[in-house]
């Protein structure tokens, strides 16, 4: 099984190159579906064969460890592959239904994004992680500026410049780690930050760069200024894969290189709390659905790194559970915003109203996803937040637990604001002509089923999330599999 791991990244990347030159859109869709299914299938197989807490690892190129580039999958990585593949498939389906996948760049970009996300999730090599993240960003640069309109060029400039700066910091961090530790293999680097100041500084630079890519406060400002200007399916895809790859890498680097050191976790908890509050307050001042949702993305990233800051197995498990259900919920919300915009001609709250009468199914999907985001029972967001807050209190992190609860109320406030302005009230007197298309709601509907199923049958994911948390926390097993 482990020798097939590189295929999860290689298949989408190679097929991305292939679809870029295929003229027929139908062929491109089929090829994209095949690539996504391969990636997701390898993820399912990885989750299935790491049930005993083992780690699948392979050394690329036939070099002996620790000189070869290692790729490794534990339950956490396998689970993320499945989620990334699912989100990419549904976002491309939405683009197809919307008629936005006419350009070959759409399929090629999305597949390259998926391949790079898979590579970054699986790699156990710090420099290789840098390369995967660059591939990821390069395909996202193409997607965010698709069409080349003025707004997208402006958003693209902010986005590209910020991420290039982050990448330079990342690379400098890798150089410092290599200069002091003599290796960039994560297995060799296990706990290395505790023994060497140079490694600690280098790894901190890497963590800061990953924080930029995950949009943690105070390095978050690029996200709400660039994401809302991309095509809606691209914003949805980015929210589900791009920023979450930063989180996945952050989980891996902090747990392995710092081995969960108390001081680092303390700092992460502070950043997590500030991120939650700043993101949710930023959303209050926004007036379009996508801008509100983009600020909420910043806020929710705070919950994810809060799990990392708590650092116990209960905390990490809650974090993994939160991550999986949150990706589904947030992508669903962006796809709803896209459907509203397509059908009503705008997602600006001032130009909307009365959608609950006009499009009840759309309203239902939004309501479920919004409640799941805020954490209303019995949806999965509630389960995830209860688990997180309990883990925080059990770990004596009272401040962050209280912040998490308070921010949930503010999240609900923003969701109610969208609901009141767009779905309740009277219809606008001069509606903007939209372009309704059949089936546009299907991808969002599929994703909205996730919080219901995971809320009512939370146990099924919880078992996997707990296993993923143990594999994250048990760095000795990971390190000995990567660098035996």
């Amino acid at each position: 099984m482990s020798r097939f791991l590189p295929l999860a990244a290689a298949t989408p990347l190679l097929l991305a190159a292939a679809v870029a030159v295929v003229p027929a859109v139908v062929v491109r869709r089929v090829v994209a579906a095949a690539a996504i299914a391969t990636c997701g299938g390898i993820g399912v197989a990885a989750v299935g064969s790491t049930g005993d807490g083992g780690v699948l690892a392979t050394q690329l190129g036939g070099f002996p460890p620790p000189f070869a580039i290692a790729m490794a999958a534990d339950t956490f990585a396998g689970l993320m592959l499945v989620v990334f593949a699912l989100v990419t498939g549904l976002c491309l389906a939405f683009a197809g239904l919307r008629g936005h996948d006419g350009s070959p760049r759409a399929h090629a970009g999305a597949l390259a994004l998926l391949g790079a996300a898979a590579g970054a999730t699986l790699t156990a090599d710090l420099f290789n992680l840098f390369v995967w993240i660059e591939v990821l960003l390069l395909s996202s640069y193409v997607l965010i500026t698709i069409g080349g309109t003025a707004r997208r060029v402006r958003a693209g400039t902010i986005y590209v410049a910020t991420n290039l700066l982050g990448s330079s910091v990342f690379l400098a961090g890798v150089a410092l780690v290599y200069a002091t530790a003599g290796s960039v293999n994560l297995g060799v680097l296990r706990g290395a930050a505790a023994g060497s100041g140079g490694v600690a500084i280098g790894a901190t630079l890497v963590v800061v760069a990953l924080a930029v890519k995950s949009a943690l406060v105070p390095v978050h400002a690029w996200l709400p200024r660039s994401y809302p200007d991309a095509p809606t399916w691209v914003t949805a895809l980015f929210s589900g894969t791009l920023t979450k790859v930063g989180i996945v890498a952050l989980f891996r680097v902090v747990t392995v290189v710092f081995d969960g050191a108390a001081g680092v976790r303390e700092a992460i908890l502070i950043v997590a709390g500030v991120t939650m509050v700043v993101g949710v307050l930023g959303a209050v001042g926004q007036t379009s659905m996508r801008a509100i949702l983009s600020f909420h993305m910043v806020s929710q990233v705070g919950y994810l790194v809060m799990a990392l800051g708590i650092g116990t197995i209960a905390g990490l498990g809650a974090g993994v559970f939160f991550l999986v259900q949150y990706i589904a919920v947030k992508t669903a919300l962006f796809l709803v915003a896209g459907a509203v915009e397509s059908q009503e001609g705008s997602d600006d709250l001032e130009e909307l109203g009365g959608l609950v009468h006009k499009r009840p199914a759309l309203a239902a999907v939004f309501l479920i996803s919004a409640f799941a985001l805020a954490g209303v029972p019995p949806l999965s967001g509630f389960v995830a937040k209860v688990a997180l807050v309990r883990a925080a209190f059990d770990g004596a992190a009272y401040g962050i637990g209280a912040t998490a609860v308070a921010v949930s109320f503010l999240t609900l406030l923003s969701m109610v604001k969208i609901w009141n302005a767009a779905f309740w009230g009277s219809m606008p007197e001069e509606p903007i002509p939209g372009e309704p298309r059949a089936g546009l709601l299907v991808p969002a509907g599929v994703l909205a089923a996730v919080p219901i199923v995971l809320g009512l049958f939370a146990e099924s994911l919880w078992v996997v999330a707990d296993r993923a948390a143990r594999s994250l926390a048990d760095v000795v097993v990971y390190a000995s599999a990567v660098a035996p």
Partner: protein, 139 residues
């Protein structure tokens, strides 16, 4: 060793100055300088003293080939990124007449309505340009 540190410092300072400018071409040049600074750090991470060729058995004190491979990869990536940034600058020049993307659109204006769809040749059709006040029309 300290000479290398000074080189890195000067490159990083120049890069930072250029990145803080508004024009996209300057920003691109700034990232070229910053990339060079990081590449020198990367090269220095393998040690700077002169050593033998890194072939098994050919030398008793071989050089470390890995940082060279790192730098080569980083240069290729930086080349792609620079090309993309320059393409953005070119597009901004087409749209605004200059490569300053920040001054062209007030930041508090509403976001794009996204009714446009890119055609394979990169042209844009659709109605959003005519509906949103002050939006993307070629000058």
């Amino acid at each position: 060793m300290s000479a290398i540190a000074v080189v890195v410092g000067v490159l990083a300072a120049g890069g930072t100055y250029l990145i803080l400018q508004r024009g996209v071409v300057r920003i691109a040049l700034g990232f070229v300088l910053l990339g060079h600074a990081v590449n020198v750090v990367l090269l220095a991470s393998g040690g700077l003293q002169e050593r033998g060729v890194p072939i098994v058995g050919a030398s008793s004190d071989p050089a470390d080939p890995l940082p060279q491979a790192f730098v080569l990869t980083a240069i290729v990536i930086a080349f792609g990124m620079t090309a993309f940034l320059l393409a953005l600058a070119f597009r901004a020049g087409e749209l605004f007449g200059l490569d300053d993307t920040e001054g062209a659109i007030p930041p508090d204006e509403r976001v794009d309505r996204d009714l446009d769809e890119a055609e394979p040749d990169g042209n844009v059709r659709g109605g959003s340009e005519t509906q949103v006040p002050g939006s993307e029309e070629d000058p």
